[in-house]
């Protein structure tokens, strides 16, 4: 595998991470909530698609469209029943609540689907198997391209929504100052519920990609959460384009690590994440300590 190929594969992988991270970024940006159940919600989405594919035999992409309303509804219910209450009681409570939710989802999935490892790769047809051999050392997979294009479209659409629609302005206004937003007639509860519904729906898309490009089981969520979280932090928390770039950077770091030694894949990603953390947040604290 050449370096160029490693970078290209890293971009494809990174596009997947960016989609996973997108919902996490939205919830953090709008509500300042770090949803620790985000990875498990993505996996739950994968299972919902899996069930639809199993029972109807449709293609996973079509099944995802069918699953979408279910996930959106789930997002609303999650916000109105769990998150909204926890948001009122400080910053620790939402963390605890979503941590609990994560465990609940994992156990429900274990009970319903057994610990078996699943994949939708075999059901997705030609896109999982086709690829173009560009040069000797560089091959471009159809699935990688599909995920990259969908990631760019997703982030582009979100950007357009936030910058040019009234609903998007309402979301930004609420994110910046929920109290003032209420005072100009914006239903902040409704905005929060919509943001969570959006985040859950996009998490499910991440789950779909996970299920097609590799395998998943009831406890896959936390790993996905870590990658998503790293992408969000690398990209600068709460910034949408930053999250896309953060995902791509994480993906490239991982494939470059794997290029050196396959065992280094996750490690180089974590190192990039730590480096960004130290540069961005560590510097100030370090100097504070030294000043003391």
């Amino acid at each position: 595998m050449t370096i160029v190929n490693a970078v290209v594969q890293g971009i494809f992988l990174g596009a997947f991470y960016a989609v996973l991270a997108c919902g996490l970024s939205i919830m953090f940006g709008v509500m300042r909530v770090i949803n620790l159940a985000h990875g498990d919600i993505a996996v739950l989405g994968a299972y919902v698609v899996f069930v639809i594919v199993q029972s109807t035999g449709m293609s996973p992409l079509v099944a995802f469209v069918v699953a979408l309303p279910v996930m959106i509804l789930l997002g609303y219910v999650l916000q109105l029943t769990v998150l909204e209450r926890s948001l009122k009681s400080g910053i620790l409570t939402p963390l605890l609540a979503t941590f609990g939710l994560s465990i609940v989802i994992q156990n429900l999935l274990l009970i319903s689907f057994s610990p078996d490892v699943r994949s939708l790769g075999g059901n997705a047809g030609a896109i999982t198997t086709s690829s173009w051999q560009v040069t000797g050392g560089l091959s471009v997979s159809a699935l990688g391209m599909v995920i990259l294009v969908m990631a760019v479209l997703l982030f582009g659409a979100l950007q357009l929504f936030l910058s040019s629609t009234r609903a998007g302005w309402m979301m930004r206004a609420t994110a910046e100052d929920a109290d003032a937003a209420e005072l100009v007639g914006i239903d902040s509860r409704g905005v929060y519920a919509r943001a969570t519904a959006l985040a859950v729906a996009i998490a499910a898309l991440g789950g779909l990609f996970l299920a097609i490009r590799s395998v998943f089981d009831p406890v896959s969520g936390p790993t996905q959460l870590i990658f998503a979280f790293e992408a969000v932090v690398i990209g600068g928390m709460g910034s949408l384009w930053g999250t896309l770039l953060g995902g791509l950077a994480l993906g490239v770091a991982q494939t470059l690590g794997a290029h050196i030694n396959p065992e280094y894949s996750a490690l180089t990603g974590h190192l990039l994440f730590l480096a960004v953390l130290i540069v961005r947040f560590g510097g100030g604290r370090l100097s504070l300590r030294m000043a003391r």
Partner: protein, 234 residues
Amino acid sequence: MTLLRVEELDCRYGLLQAVRGVSFELAQGETLALIGANGAGKSTLLRAIAGAHRPHGGRVLFDGVDVTSMPAHRRVSLGIALVPEGRRLFPSLTVEENLRVAAARRGRWNVQSVLEVFPLLQPRRHMAAANLSGGEQQAVAIGRALMSNPRLLLLDEVSLGLAPIVVDAVYRSLADIIKEGTTVLLVEQDLTRALNVAGRVICMLEGRIVLEGEAASLDRDRVVGAYFGLKQPA
């Protein structure tokens, strides 16, 4: 006709009682100035009327409807708008987006008519609110409140931190708005301005109303005495 009726309102922050048993009425079309020293509870009272602060006791009635437990955004659709202390614009939104996001009720006010009343905003229309000067931000804050076509406009220290010449401009625009028949309740630190623009004045001290009367009939010394909580000579 009574537009706003506040009955025995009590507002607290934990143990601190910021508003204590305040009652007053505001008639349609009236302009009332609320004055008082720092910490008297003026902002808290306004926020409780707008729905941004849940009162501990008492009632707020707007046009005969008890709105005491109604969330702020629903009061906006009934016709209550607050220009909050400190302006509180949405910094990343442009001037026009700040205005359009607040368009809750139809009526005389829209982006066009707001820009006509505040012509200084015209060239800033597509600029992020964070990059405006203080006077421009205050104009956007008032314009944003007008965008909901309020029947009751609550203004909290709109002149704070502005150069006198800018304050004059803001008050000239306000005079136009008042002439249109909007009912206004404003908090103003500048006594002369308050007595000029308002028909009636309420003075608060430590959460209570200590003086209330027609602006024309109040003499300055009595107001100043009430303001600082001085004992009136018999």
